[in-house]
Symmetry: C2
Subunit: 306 residues, 2 copies
């Protein structure tokens, strides 16, 4: 049976995202770390991996991005965006006033300090290796309550004392569903393409040139991050997300231009946008425009300039 | 006496950075939060504020940057870069094997999971509101040891069991020393300028245009971050750090160009780079080049084109 490896254990936000990916024909398989979830797909033990790439509350996103930038390439076929809202789980019959200790992943605890100060100010805060591990800690009697992903309540025999816990109302975390390189998802008219590019950062303007290559083709950037590369002084990695699908000529053309300008470009996938907003394309950049232009240039090269 | 407000309590990395700023004529005053440290300077209760702006291990950097982007402007006069290396503090006479619980700020715990798994795998991990609060927790008997900034050992009557703890060898955290707008630090030949710009993100290419304005003037970008703005759909904030001082004509000229292109530009300071590397300037961008060009254009405007 087909399977999705996710950053486990059972009951984490990554499992919640894997469920939201809505592939009922796939078994969900927890892995201990993000690199192990990626390795499961790279080595063929799993078909897909579901890992956090933005605002994770259970681990460092930079480590995920760095893991995608090296080793065997993987490509995203979907993105999943989840609200950062936690549940408070405790043993059945527990009252809020009974709780003297509360556990979660350190990143998750950091995101609910306001709520804890208001509702559980006297509880000791315990750091767990994941939000789900915190739930296990409650079952084992190591702590009185756990701050978890909502899905944790489906796995552990605990009561939901509170749900929708969030200091910041509109915080979201973003995941990618990745596979080994193969057939790409078909364009939907609401697509995003992700790449990681390595370029000489000390050369003034290289990033301006890269973004101009995108802008000239009407490509709308939705995210940019720069990171210095360890052990490669003067080189930077740029993680870029932009509107469009590599099946579109303007996107293919832009990627070719970046390939000429950068030391290295890795394609991380073209996949439907979670929010379903239409791809912005600018004008004069349709496939028909590219075809007409290419056909004209061919004529010119053949001496048929008329 | 002049004072520096920092993100406290005593013994945090922010205090370590404030000490490293090397202003022995300034008293260091702890504040409970980053916004309170900034408010102390905005309201004139302190002369300077020392706050984390990159890879903080004791709070969210994004909150700091957002706090600098609004309210009364503050400008940086120095940056301080510290290695992310922790000390393990416990009551005198404690052996590593005796420790059954270890506390720190959630972000700090997240950064030493490898070390803890190797050396204190059986210790319960407790989340504290800061690394320094964890040290206080040891004194109070709430936990057996604390993962702290090195400077915490100077404040609390605890023993340093281990120092230089780091899962990643070359991780650093960066702080800015901020004041109310006033005289800027003189250019040193190794300067950085920080700004936050608000622009319409949906307009394809606006960031390419902004970076091209910098590149055309030989300005080397050292950091870029994009963040969507809450409640202002379609607008993004860009945090940009680049080489150079606003006293240089090419930097002044670039800032003026960004001011024309963006909805809003806030100057966050021109200050000496912590690493002391010379400012990269490209060619044909010296103040003399600007002066000669301006003088020529004036002549043209006066009809003296010869």
């Amino acid at each position: 049976m087909a399977s999705i490896a996710y950053f486990g254990p059972q009951g984490t936000f990554s499992e919640q995202a894997a469920l939201a990916a809505n592939r009922p024909d796939h078994t969900l398989v927890p892995e201990a770390t993000v690199p192990e979830a990626l390795a499961a797909v790279r080595h063929g033990h799993a078909d897909l991996a579901c890992v956090p790439v933005e605002n994770s509350v259970e681990g460092a996103v930079s480590a995920t991005m760095d893991a995608l930038a090296v080793d065997e390439p993987l490509v995203a076929i979907a993105e999943i965006v989840l609200p950062v809202r936690f549940s408070l789980l405790a043993k059945p019959g527990t009252e809020l006033g009974d709780i003297t200790s509360v556990a979660s992943h350190p990143h998750a605890l950091a995101q609910v300090q306001g709520w804890l100060a208001k509702h559980l100010s006297h509880a000791t805060q315990l750091a767990a290796t994941s939000t789900a591990a915190a739930a296990v800690g409650v079952l084992d009697g190591q702590c009185g309550a756990a701050i978890t992903a909502p899905v944790a309540a489906d796995h552990y025999d605990l009561e939901v004392l509170e749900t929708g816990i969030a200091d910041v109302d509109d915080a979201v975390t973003r995941f990618l569903l990745l596979q080994r390189p193969g057939a790409l998802p078909a364009p939907t008219g609401s697509d995003r393409t992700s790449i990681v590019a390595v370029a000489a950062y000390q050369r003034t303007g290289v990033l301006a040139e890269m973004l101009t290559e995108l802008a000239l083709r009407g490509i709308n950037l939705s995210r940019i991050e720069s990171r210095p590369m360890k052990g490669r002084l003067g080189e930077y990695r740029f993680y870029l997300d932009f509107d469009g699908h590599v099946a579109e000529q303007r996107i293919a053309d832009a990627l070719a231009a970046l390939h000429r300008r950068c030391h290295e470009v890795r394609f991380l996938g073209s996949y439907p946008k979670a929010d379903g907003t239409p791809t912005l394309a600018g004008t004069d950049n349709a496939d028909a425009d590219y075809a007409a232009a290419a056909s004209w240039v061919t004529k010119v090269q053949q001496g048929r300039t008329g």
